[in-house]
């Protein structure tokens, strides 16, 4: 899942670097240099019939009329970090939002906002990473757009990806379906993406490598659905982390969510970094972790299915839904005390995704 080891290796940049070592304003102007970027870099990398038609949009035939659609812009800093980069993040993040709707991701669009002066090789590394991630996730990038802004009006590369997928779940999956009696499953340990990006930004080093959890979750989600498990709601734990996801769902569904702190897996390295830096792991961003709400009696089956997938090997049941205190999330400590979990008010780590 993590493509960083291959980044920049294997293929030479298809734009003549001696002539165009950096991105120029004209690469976004709609003229000859825009065309060159499209023809030599984007079309071959994302190769598919819809893109190659060079139309104003992609013409697609879907297998069904029930669709999920989503969008996200990615502004992560730095562009490359242990376990991923802005390219893999942009593909996996949007794939994951579709998966959380119970949909099979099919098609993505990619909108680049490049800063004048960006090394052309950097763009190429990111495009290669997007290519690999989209192949891994089984999606096609069928439409795109590139704009270039002046030096100091951007920060290297910003990417928007939007996506559509066909709904595979027979029953709707949505916060509104969460109900008292649901068990809450977490797909793995939390906080790795946040700490990996932050460490990379600040130059912190760990004794053993800590990598982002960045990955496409569509495979593990479709496994759950194909098993016939009655999933009520799915949510990936990005900006704002586990805490924000749960607070949002408790608010939307008007239910009480109760979490066992000791049940939430956190790697020792992540916990140590949090203690030093004053972070709380439940607020840290993840890019390959999600929670699933399923009826209590289906929790064991769901857990087994998740653990059978490589991305869910350390999945566990972390709590349950009650109707005691609607709209509230509480967390019980190992010694039995309970605290209210709130949405973060400020900014723990800006530009984490």
């Amino acid at each position: 899942m993590a493509p960083e080891n291959e980044s920049g290796a294997g293929f030479a940049c298809p734009i003549p670097i001696q002539q165009y070592p950096h991105v120029l304003l004209a690469h976004g102007g709609g003229g000859k240099l825009s065309q060159q970027l499209l023809e030599r870099m984007f079309l071959p990398a994302f190769s598919n019939a819809a893109l190659e038609a060079r139309h104003d949009g992609a013409l697609l035939e879907l297998p069904s009329r029930s669709l999920a659609m989503t969008t996200d812009s990615y502004v992560v800093r730095p562009l490359f970090f242990p376990g991923g980069d802005i390219g893999s993040l942009a593909v996996n993040g949007t794939v994951n939002d579709l998966a959380m709707c119970g949909a099979r991701p099919l098609y993505l669009t990619a909108g680049f906002i490049l800063e004048e002066g960006l090394p052309m090789e950097t763009l190429w590394r990111v495009v290669q990473s997007m290519r690999r991630s989209s192949l891994d996730a089984g999606v096609q990038i069928v439409a795109g757009d590139t704009k270039v802004v002046e030096r100091g009006k951007g920060d290297g590369i910003y990417i928007n990806t939007s996506g559509i997928g066909v709904v595979e779940s027979a029953r709707p999956i949505s916060p509104a379906r969460v109900a008292a009696g649901d068990a809450i499953l977490l797909s793995g340990d939390i906080g790795r993406h946040g700490i990996a990006v932050m460490a990379s930004r600040e130059g912190l080093e760990f004794e053993t490598a800590l990598e982002s959890d960045c990955a496409a979750l569509s495979g593990i989600v479709l496994d759950l659905l194909s098993d016939g498990i009655r999933v009520h709601c799915l949510r990936d734990l990005t900006r704002g982390g586990l805490a924000s996801a749960l607070v949002e769902i408790a608010g939307a569904a008007r239910v009480h969510i109760e979490i066992e702190e000791s049940a939430v897996p956190v790697l020792d390295q992540v916990r140590a970094a949090c203690e030093i830096l004053g972070f709380d792991p439940i607020y840290l961003a993840n890019e390959g972790r999600f929670v699933a709400f399923v009826p209590e009696r289906e929790a064991r089956g769901a857990l087994e299915r998740m653990r059978a997938h490589p991305l869910g090997a350390s999945a566990c049941i972390i709590g349950r839904v009650t109707d005691r205190d609607p709209g509230r999330v509480t967390m019980r400590s190992p010694i039995g005390t309970s605290r209210i979990v709130e949405m973060i008010s400020g900014e723990q780590l800006p530009r984490i995704c």
Copy 2:
């Protein structure tokens, strides 16, 4: 179509301006301030069921499985210009790309990249403009995302809109279908968007107001299609203008395109500005103009249909397709000489859309 007269009027900004006069990094952090922006500004402005479900994506039921999908990022400078603003541009531009595929635009996503320090009122004016433009164009904004980057890492507001629509044309509409014998229709005078934005940027003044042509073209295109006219190809004339659109199509279809210079309508003010500034109107950006390729014998009917629509009142036939010189665009001057039209190599006007 041009919403600028209402911009900022009528509705007070729903975010408490005294408390939050400017956008903060935390407005993109996924916590409380992100939620406030979503709940008070975006949800009420773009009000629809898909958005209000607060899911990771929008769940949609389409009327058909034949889809067009597109994306564009908007980085226009300044944010407000005569005849439009970045909000109306972001809605109409993506609506138009779908229309050019012969599709009825249905759903858009909106991804905002805001610069820390942006006046909250400015964001609100842009959101109101997007609301009006999407109502006018008959589309819903069903999913969104907001990121905030540090001061000096953006330029106020960048917006990505992606969109889907259902294909209404019985036959495919695509550059590949352009053939010798086609007539080329232009929907109206060219160059107004480019000159209006440039004049606004540079503080130039005209004797009479010159406004951008920014508008949604889906209505006029669907009129053409519903009349049963066998449209071969449609292309809106954005970055790179009429010239770049024709060069791209001549290249993709391997045909020769011949244009009569005197048949291309250009307002006197636009022509005068071009002469002073050394621009060629055929390279100027438009945001509400398109060319249609139709078989010669259907050209009159298509022209009448276009002229019956307010956005096609000055439509005309500007040239034809031959097989004489595949891949080339030529333009005949009023005195009978012919010149080759090439794609622009540099950058005429950066950040025009």
